[in-house]
Subunit: 260 residues, 2 copies
């Protein structure tokens, strides 16, 4: 099935998916040469593939020789049931949490070994945050990420640790033993406080969303300036929001079949 001779062993589709996968939050728009470098494919192959992808609408060509993800792929991607059902169930409660606290609110799931921001509502305050819908960040450095790790199988946490715990900010937990203690505390308390871990200047309160099958399916957080000394007053609000989302999920949205 390999459609060409330059990269034997990789199918045409595999190469096209590699082209799509070369786009990221850090590189939302790329020149042909950047795609070539990122995928390791021959320039002629990339040229032909991007032509087909542009024709279908998976990519757009904002300027000659430059490419970005197209609306058609956004539209097809928005059909993903896990993201869509979870967001539909969560959004009213996230909005209430944002309105009452006036702060940035996040809904986060695990995607591979990273924390994926499924939703981010802007706050009224100016807290520096790295989050963006669709962005993937190291799970150990984010409040909701730590919540998800705390309730994940130990083998999974070991894999995350084995991949390294990069420092993102002054307070990032980079020591595996310290992380294990922190995750144990999250399990015991049922919520997670973070300060200067993902971004210097930002603190957060995060809590787990429990799906209908009893497993933790997402983390919810509120982000405040790390100058806020006492985070405890936010804890009930974040936990109640997470609980309300869990109830909405239990009321009929099928997440139990989400594993392939």
């Amino acid at each position: 099935m390999a459609g060409g001779t330059s990269e034997p062993g990789r199918s045409v589709l595999d190469r096209a998916l590699a082209v799509l996968g070369s786009f990221s939050d850090e590189r939302p728009e790329q020149a042909l040469g950047e795609i070539v470098a990122a995928t390791g494919l021959a320039a002629a192959t990339v040229h032909r593939l991007v032509g087909e992808l542009v024709a279908w609408g998976a990519l757009e060509r904002p300027a000659r020789g430059r490419y970005r993800i197209g609306m058609r792929l956004w539209q097809i991607g928005s059909l993903a049931p896990l993201a869509r059902d979870l967001r539909d169930a969560a959004l009213p409660f996230l909005q209430d949490l944002g309105a009452i606290t006036g702060q940035v609110v996040h809904l986060v799931v695990l995607d591979g070994h990273r924390a994926l921001f499924l939703e981010r509502l802007p706050g009224h305050a100016e807290v520096p945050v790295r989050s963006r819908v669709g962005r993937r960040m190291p799970a150990h450095a984010s409040g909701p990420g730590k919540v998800l790790l705390a309730f994940a199988p130990p083998a999974f946490v070991s894999e995350v640790v084995a991949r390294g715990l990069p420092r993102m900010a002054a307070g990032t937990i980079t020591d595996p033993r310290e992380l294990a203690l922190a995750l144990g505390e999250v399990r015991r308390a049922g919520y997670c406080l973070s300060r200067d871990e993902m971004t210097d200047g930002a603190a957060s309160v995060a809590a787990p969303v429990v799906g209908p099958s009893g497993e933790v399916v997402a983390g919810v957080s509120v982000v405040v300036p790390s100058s806020v000394e006492n985070l405890q007053p936010l804890v009930p609000a974040v936990r109640l929001t997470a609980a309300a989302i869990g109830r909405a999920l239990g009321a009929g949205i099928p997440l139990s079949a989400r594993r392939t």
Copy 2:
């Protein structure tokens, strides 16, 4: 480059994109046979393609022989700059509009000849709406859709009319001349009132978002029960929201290069 003999003239990538394109809001999960029927491809071809798409994460297999769009495609799709930049600029203002009116709020763009819901914030009231993020609906039957048609080139509106004006609800404009009058009124007034056009029981106020280059890039609307007789009090709020989004776009988010 066609990788196979069963469908000469269609490349492997073209066939894989047809598989992805067979998923829709109405069919977010499909059995293999449904994909075969929708794409017109051979069953063996579809079987092989979905295997590769599942391996990459573009599709997920929630149950044996059933497929749906995967999180990986959601994540890649979320990088589309037009959707992302417009949503980032609009969301704070849409939230304010939702908080002040307590109603469902929409952000809509044109996608081909249809209205695509880029954002939908839930309201506190129980108005029946058909909208969902990522759903495409007939433009002539939606308030923001009519706003977008009103400011689109006449040739484009003719194409929409030529494709037919299906009735969606009791008040849908199905007559081309009546539509032309309505669009003229939208251009004159700068906003659009609708009642029972997309959904029986729902009325809306919609206004255009003008991008940095002076063109209308989106429509914003608030949906209320059609039992609300006087929609005028909502008009300034919707127009101000649309204007605020336009200002935010003008403040640096590059939509002017959005055409391929």
